[in-house]
């Protein structure tokens, strides 16, 4: 049984349980404090629309190689992944229906995620497994077609779907549902949402980061934290890869003992048997590192998920900067228009304006023109006030919803990483035990020499 699926199953169970726990808590909820309010929001979201995962079992069962023509009509090879879904109620009743299934490419997953990023800018959207193999230690190949890489990607894609389908907000999305159920028409449906047009331009976002004046401190702190998280996880992944490389070398060199003991045993009388068997154990020791390091890849994958999660967190913070900036701009714009209006109507020039200057230089304009301008300004001011209202709502809504999800993310991260660290310790214990076993076996042979 695939190890990834085992872990995915336990993650699934946990995610499903989380969903259930939250809804259970909601039943007990009676009083409303500020904190309860936030929790209540969470819980009611869950209660009203239970996460998709509770209704449906999802897994990415297989991967297959396909050939086809790409956008520029050239032949290419790519991998497709089989998504299987089954209704939970059927399983609960003990029936075992055949799953519905469809095939998806990595690029389709990317499309789904981009849609979610644009449509839910206040959500820390779960990341996809890496596009290209990075942080590899020498034995692993960086080739996307490598079967081990494909397998780990399969697990990663399943993990992504489970995260999304168990998210209190994301799991309700129709496009997600389509993705899981409609193989062929899905792409058109996604494009039809016009989400690509709604995406914020990079330039706009960058400009906002630099020029925003009063961003919410909590989000600034979160942004700083996302930088820290990214930095530490990537440092850790790099260091771990180097350690794996070295450890591999240490174990493999011991294999040479196997050969020399075997050769040596040929010229010995009483010592021969002991040496020979000890040599075999040395060979086994050298070979044992392969499994050990393969298992450790899973830990690396968990770290990678949070490395990419850090970026998703930063994206939410930047969205806040953008909405705040746009609000500030709109407010500023309204103020300036009001000022212009005031100047025009009272004749008092408070601030420098080009019109004011030209009036001074070339004389006042005609009263009809002034009226027209005043009228225009009043319309603009009305529009401006609407804009400020809209922007304020947008900003406040984003802050409110984002803060909820950021808290949810923080809890999830603490839990996941803690578990990952404990599992890492378990792996280390297992490695030590194996090492002790091997050397004890060799020792027994030495004693028989």
């Amino acid at each position: 049984m695939r190890r990834g699926s085992e872990e995915a199953t336990s993650v699934k169970r946990r995610m499903a349980e989380d969903g259930r726990d939250e809804s259970v808590a909601a039943d007990d909820d009676s009083q409303h404090t500020a904190e309860d309010g936030r929790n209540g929001l969470n819980n009611t979201m869950v209660e009203e629309s239970p996460t998709l995962l509770r209704r449906m079992e999802i897994c990415v069962a297989e991967a297959e190689k396909r050939s086809g023509k790409n956008a520029v009509n050239m032949q290419e090879t790519f991998t497709v992944y089989l998504i299987e879904t089954r209704p939970m109620d059927a399983l609960a009743e003990g029936r075992n229906p055949a799953p519905d299934s469809l095939w998806r490419r990595y690029s389709e997953f990317e499309l789904l995620r981009n849609y979610l990023l644009v449509s839910f800018p206040y959500i820390v959207v779960p990341p996809l497994p890496e596009k290209r193999a990075e942080f590899v230690w020498h034995k692993l190949s960086a080739d996307n077609m490598d079967p081990d890489f494909v397998e780990r990607r399969r697990v990663g894609l399943e993990n992504f779907l489970l995260r999304v389908a168990s998210h209190p907000v994301l799991s309700n999305d129709e496009i997600l549902h389509h993705f899981l159920t409609e193989e062929h028409s899905w792409k058109e449906v996604v494009y039809e949402t016009g989400f690509q047009a709604k995406a914020d331009s990079r330039l706009k976002a960058l400009s906002a980061t630099f020029r925003v004046r009063n961003p919410d401190k909590r989000f600034m702190d979160m942004k700083h934290y996302s930088d820290e998280l990214q930095s530490h996880t990537s440092q850790l992944l790099r260091a771990r890869a180097r350690v794996a490389d070295r450890l591999y070398g240490v174990y493999k060199v011991h294999g040479n003992y196997g050969r020399v003991f075997s050769e040596w045993s040929a010229i010995e009388r009483e010592m021969g048997d002991g040496l020979q068997s000890a040599g075999h154990h040395m060979d086994a020791y050298a070979a044992s590192i392969d499994d050990i390091l393969e298992e450790e890849e899973h830990y690396a994958d968990q770290l990678k998920e949070y490395l990419f999660y850090a970026e998703a967190l930063r994206a939410v913070c930047r969205k806040h900067e953008l909405t705040q900036f746009e609000l500030e701009m709109a407010t500023q714009d309204l103020i300036s228009k009001k000022q212009q209006h005031e100047e025009l109507s009272t004749g008092i020039v408070r601030t420098f304006s080009f019109k004011g200057m030209t009036n001074k230089l070339f004389g006042q304009e005609a009263p009809e023109q002034r009226e027209a301008r005043l009228k225009l300004l009043e319309e603009l001011i009305e529009e401006g006030e609407e804009a400020v209202k809209d922007k304020t709502v947008e900003c406040e809504e984003h802050v409110e919803k984002a803060w909820v999800d950021v808290q949810r993310f923080k809890e999830q991260k603490d839990k996941d990483l803690r578990e990952a660290l404990i599992n890492y310790a378990v792996m280390q214990v297992s490695m030590c035990k194996k090492g002790i076993q091997m050397w004890s076996n060799a020792k027994e042979c030495f004693l028989k020499m």
Partner: protein
Amino acid sequence: MSVGAPRALASSGQKPITEILHPLSAAEEPLSVTIGGDKQEVALTNGTPVETSSPASTSSLFNRLQLDDDLEADVRDPYADSTEMRDLFVTVDDPKKHVSTMETYITYRVSTKTSRVEFDLPEYCVRRRYQDFDWLRIKLEDSQPTHLIPPLPEKFVMKGVVDRFSEEFVETRMKALDKFLKRVADHPVLSFNPHLTAFLTVKDLNKRQGLALLSKVGESVKHVAGGYKLRARPAEFCAMGEYLDTFNQKLGTIDRIAQRILKEQSEYLTELREYGGVYSSWVGSEEELRRPLEGVAGCVTTSCGALEDLGDNMSLDFLPVLREYVLYLESIKNVLRKRDQSQAEYEGRLEAAILRKQEDRTPMPLEVEKCQDKVECFNADLKADWERWQSNKRHDFKQLLTSMADRNINSYEKSQAAWESLITLLQDKQTEDKTSETN
């Protein structure tokens, strides 16, 4: 069969063979040379044909050889027999640095406990430096050329590369010197060598003393005439030579592997330390994850310490022993060569004598008899020493490899303990948190 004082073994090259009393002889009858005869005769016989003699030739020599073999059999496994047999105990310890205007050097305390009559006192305590051990070894080699002399640790160390006065170096050297002396003291023939006695007892070891002895001892043994070519080496000595060559090769390989492992482990250690550091630096930006991150960093540090100890131990205990055996092999090969030379000389002389006899019927000259004796004694000594060396070697390597395994196990155990206690700590905290949540 008890032989009284073992020193009566005539196979030691202390006196010319003709002057040594046969253990079974009644009185100081001069040994006469006769051709033919059986082993009951007191006199030396020369019943050997023209071909090379073998230790199993039917001569009264056979008796002596029997005695040798019996005695050797008693001490074949020195570690299995009771220490009641041993009456000479030596130890090398307590290194001290001596600084003089001319030079700086280390001396070691050599302690002796014995019940042997050759020693005036039952206990001795002297201080010796490496030079003195070297002197002893040369003397032993010269005076007992038919025996395998244990090796000393390497004499020369590159002054820039190795610190001759570092604790590790001195300790390693001292252990090797101790082993050397113990091996000599346990040897049934070498332990009675007067040079050893002088080494163990004389306060101020006057090296010129040795020269006087040397002049007496030297002739019969050192006089190995060159120019004689060996016709056919007995199969068992061929086998010894081949074994030594192959074994030497394998030891060299093992040494290289061990050094490579040390290098790889050291590089692994460097990366591991940096890796632990990353966990430590991550702690700063986390709250809930602080404890597990700190815990992992701590375990990594513990593992680093265990690994460092492992590397140090291997450097200090494993590699030097390997190198010692390589030196041992070299010295054994030298002894084999000398044996070949002695056999070649005998054959040469025998051939010449036979030719002369055919010409003018002169009886077999005495030198030829002496040569034959020499060869047969040499072969006997060598065979006996070879067996004991094989047995010692087996024991030494069993111990060496077993302790290598133990050290690796120990290293893993330390690491495992650290990780397991972390898991317990974190899981306890987890259940603790869960119960406080539901409350």
